[in-house]
């Protein structure tokens, strides 16, 4: 087992900032662990769900070999985005430069894979050896009829959030607003920013939007088609669903195109309703607002009725919640809806506002998880002995070793949890997770032994 020290013992004890939240998005300390991904991964996460384009990684095999087709972002059409395209930088390229290789690869993709655009990702190696990815993309684009867009996101720039942000800038600079046709505003249309259609989340929300007469211009970027993204500036409203790191994008869109933005979440009954109502309000359509108020009331009743059985089974269970972004607070109310108490909550990659919102929603007695490393996580489990853990997949197998039921709510999951329909799926899956008979077998001592414990 670990020594009793955790990451926090290694640094200044005063890690709580003035606002009373832990230092969020704190840089990883060298040697503390390896949970955090990099800027390159962050950019991929945001852009990779764009379905009908090619995503070319200009890097050694590590960057693409380990990450092609590794997220559950679903597409209703083209599957091109899942193809693992890379220049596979080798030693000779490191010595002589990889620009020629990159150019040839781009032209090859354009000729044989029929993409609407090509996104080219720089990596640590391509940046360090001085390949000018921007220049090569411009050159290639001049020879082609499709956009070739460079994404300058070498991993060494830092955490995932930085990469998210870079991806937002790229969309703003190179994609949004580049459509050929009309620039006219489309009434009652919205963009969902930070919705990546993981496990088909988006499709859980679409029916409600449709029923209310709200048109989805595009999600950024779940199940997105390149042409729809180019016209994203025609939407009447931006709804920031997740990923605060895309705030820069909506702010800039507000300035350039005059599109207002609101924040929202489609996790849980309350937040789904509230978000739909806020959309209606922000769209400034009284008729829509009236329709929405009636609609959400009906949906809430229906959904609560459907999940009542699950609620009975889950009520008063004790949970640890560990997630990031909008889910930080949205999951608190989702779990509360099912009668689940939160013993401790923690967050990674969240902003202080997200954190404060979570804290307000939680029971004051609930503990804040400050140390987000594996060591800290295990310590909390040992102390709190929760009935269940709701978190991202990275901690799943750790939790299993402690015989604690675990539900993955990040990109590793296979089922959609967004919207009213998603709430039902969530309740059902959580019930199956918590009440699985396997936990019972695990807890039975065999053969009965005397007080032997791990050191």
């Amino acid at each position: 087992m670990f020594t009793n020290l955790t990451k926090l013992d290694l640094k200044d004890k005063k890690c709580m900032s003035d606002a009373g939240s832990p230092k969020l998005c704190m840089k990883a300390l060298p040697g503390e662990g390896a949970e955090r991904s990099c800027a390159y991964d962050g950019a991929r996460v945001v852009l990779m769900p764009i379905t009908d384009v090619a995503h070319l990684v200009h890097g050694p095999i590590a960057c693409a070999g380990n990450s092609w087709d590794n997220r559950g972002a679903r597409s209703s059409g083209s599957q091109l985005y899942r193809r693992g395209l890379t220049t596979d930088i080798m030693e000779n390229d490191v010595i002589y430069g990889g620009e020629i290789k990159l150019k040839k690869s781009i032209l090859e993709i354009a000729a044989k894979h029929d993409p609407k655009a090509i996104f080219v990702y720089a990596t640590c190696v391509s940046s360090l050896i001085g390949d000018d990815v921007d220049k090569i993309c411009r050159e290639a684009e001049a020879e082609l009829t499709i956009p070739v867009i460079s994404v300058n996101c070498p991993g060494f720039l830092g955490d995932k959030n930085i990469g998210n942000r870079i991806a937002g800038e790229v969309l703003y600079d190179r994609v949004i607003g580049t459509a050929k046709g009309s620039d006219e505003r489309i009434p009652l249309s919205i963009n969902l920013i930070g919705e990546y259609n993981i496990a088909g989340d988006l499709w859980g929300v679409l029916p409600d939007l449709k029923n209310l007469g709200i048109r989805l211009q595009t999600a950024i970027t779940g199940d997105a088609k390149f042409d729809d993204l180019r016209s994203a500036h025609r939407a009447s409203l931006n709804v920031l669903i997740c990923s605060k790191s895309l705030t820069n994008l909506v702010r800039k869109m507000e300035i350039r195109y005059g599109i207002p933005f609101i924040e929202g979440s489609f996790y849980g009954i309350q937040d789904t309703s509230q978000t739909l109502i806020n959309i209606a309000k922000a769209l400034n359509d009284l008729d829509l607002l009236d329709r929405t108020l009636v609609y959400v009331k009906k949906k809430e009743e229906e959904t609560r009725e459907t999940i009542a059985g699950y609620k009975k089974l889950l009520e008063n269970k004790q949970a640890i919640l560990f997630t990031g972004g909008v889910k930080t607070w949205s999951m608190v109310s989702t779990l509360a809806e099912l009668g689940i108490n939160i013993l401790a909550g923690g967050t990674q990659n969240s902003t202080p506002e997200d954190f404060q919102r979570m804290k307000k929603l939680m029971d004051p007695a609930a503990q804040i998880i400050e140390d987000t490393s594996s060591a800290g996580f295990l310590k909390i489990i040992a102390e709190k002995k929760p009935d269940l853990i709701v978190a991202g997949g990275k901690t799943k197998y750790l939790a299993h070793k402690t015989r604690t039921p675990f539900l993955d709510i990040n990109h590793g999951r296979k089922l959609p949890y967004a919207g009213y329909q998603g709430m039902i799926t969530f309740a059902e899956t959580l019930t199956r997770t918590v009440l699985s008979p396997v936990w019972g077998h695990l807890k039975r001592e065999f053969p009965p032994r005397e007080g032997e414990q791990d050191d």
Binding site: A34, R36, L56, G65, T86, R403
Partner: protein, 472 residues
């Protein structure tokens, strides 16, 4: 729109496209290899209380951990020193020293297995000198062993990284060979083998044959750890004591060839006896393993093993008609391919396309001569250095009955409308396969079961009522 997609897809299935695809020079599509540091991390997990430490950008380490974790469905421990832009300018020494200090304080390892990812390699960090400085400054105790390997991902593949780390670990931990202190042990090195059950199978066979042995490295208890209610960060691995005594081994037996050349060369230079055999897959492959071990012990092969061999051969006779004459495509690492192809040839299966992204000239020669020597190998071609997009072209233009490879092959198999039997790494869409051995005589049974039952299942699900039968 619809027609456009269709035309493209049809075109992808043509001979014309195949030729264009094979003319591709620079671009790699759907690569079937991982990188050096992933192999190094895997290797480092197999030593008692060894902490894998990635000197480089933090994202790399997160990728390796998640790839291994998804395959084994187990937690995987590793740390990174999270180099960032400033390290690119000033070098990674500060990160390395602080990282070693923190890692040692937090995780109390018995050995730190330090390896590099690209960033450190491109800027030319001298990890040896940095380590010296770290110890001098008291960041970690002088006596804490730190094994080192340079593992740039732009050179070789995961099997190269495995090899480099293994050599680094022996170099760091083993005391010099002393002719009067030679121990009586056979050190068995499994190579980049991701089947925890293969390790258990080796150990079982060695025990049955009454052999004093050390499995080096041994990830079986680390990546297939029992659930005992608490998380154990270091649940197993080759003991440090056995590592210390490695150069005094009576002999080394390597059961993989292409994932271990650097380590073998190092042992040769230390005058350690080294034997290398092909991965013991199939009857002949396993026979060779048993013979090598028997030669080492000087004892007869126990009856238990002869009986086991007999049962596997009996299973081969029961099932030969389902494999004989069937056409196969395969992809994977060199050692695995040699083993699986030799098994197919034993059963009369006909390999047609063999794709090896991380091929070497020696492997190519060995594979081609094995194919040439068998009547069932005549129709086979080895495609060295090709990727899974090439494989797709091969499958749709020159159809076969089955694809054998890891989960990454599922797209190509789907497009070609043939079943995929998952043998290799990573397997992220099926459960427990690493818990069944593919080596040894019991491995023969398991492979027959997997391959034949997949064919039969396919037949049952697709046959009309007329040909739907109780007996197959």
């Amino acid at each position: 729109m619809e027609t456009c997609t269709k035309v493209t897809k049809d075109w992808l299935n043509t001979q014309e496209y195949r030729e264009k695809n094979f003319a591709r020079e620079k671009l790699v599509i759907n690569p079937a290899k991982a990188c050096q540091p992933l192999g190094a991390l895997f290797c480092a997990l197999g030593i008692e209380r060894s902490l894998p430490f990635v000197h480089g950008s933090q994202g790399c380490a997160a990728y390796f951990r998640s790839t291994l974790s998804r395959h084994y469905r187990e937690p995987v421990s590793a740390v990174s020193d999270s180099m960032t832009e400033d390290s690119a300018v000033f070098g990674g020494q500060t990160n390395l020293i602080e990282g070693l200090k923190n890692a040692n304080t937090l995780y109390s390892p018995k050995v730190i297995s330090l390896f590099t990812s690209c960033m450190a390699e491109v800027i030319g960090d001298d990890i040896n000198a940095y380590l010296g400085n770290a110890k001098e400054q008291g960041a970690i105790p002088q006596e804490l062993p730190v094994a080192m390997a340079n593992t740039p991902s732009f050179k070789g593949s995961h099997i190269t990284g495995y090899d480099n780390m293994l050599k680094g670990l022996i170099e760091c931990l083993a005391t010099p060979r002393q002719e009067d202190k030679i121990n009586n042990r056979l050190y068995v090195v499994p190579g980049f083998d991701t089947y925890t059950a293969n390790f258990r199978e080796y150990k079982r066979l060695l025990k049955v044959m009454d052999t004093p042995y050390t499995l080096l490295p041994d990830q079986s208890d680390v990546l297939d750890a029992p659930n005992l209610g608490t998380y154990e960060m270091y649940p197993g691995g080759t003991s440090i004591t056995e590592m210390n005594d490695a150069l005094n081994a009576a002999s080394f037996l390597f059961t993989q060839t292409y994932s271990t050349p650097t380590t073998r060369k190092y042992l040769d230079s230390k005058e350690v006896t080294v034997e290398v055999i092909p991965m013991p897959i199939g009857i002949a492959g396993t026979d060779k393993f048993i013979e090598s071990v028997a030669k080492f012990t000087g004892k007869d092969v126990p009856e238990e093993i002869t009986l086991e061999r007999g049962r596997s051969i009996d299973a081969m006779t029961d099932a030969h008609q389902y494999i004989h004459g069937k056409k196969f495509a395969l992809f994977g690492d060199p050692d695995l391919l040699i083993g699986v192809v030799s098994f197919l040839l034993e059963m009369g299966g006909e390999p047609v396309h063999i794709v090896c992204t991380n091929s070497t000239p020696l492997f190519k020669k060995a594979m081609e001569s094995m194919l040439a020597a068998s009547p069932y190998g005549q129709g086979a071609t080895l495609y060295a250095g090709k990727d899974l997009w090439h494989l797709r072209s091969l499958l749709v233009t020159e159809p076969v009955d089955m694809l054998i490879g890891d989960s990454h092959g599922k797209w190509a198999a789907r497009d070609a409308d043939i079943p995929l039997v998952r043998i290799g790494f990573p397997i992220t869409d099926r459960v427990n396969l690493h818990r069944y051995p593919i080596v040894g005589y019991s491995g023969v049974l398991n492979m027959i079961t997997m391959i034949v039952n997949t064919f039969l299942e396919e037949k049952d699900r697709t046959s009309s009522d007329t040909y739907f039968e109780m007996m197959r």
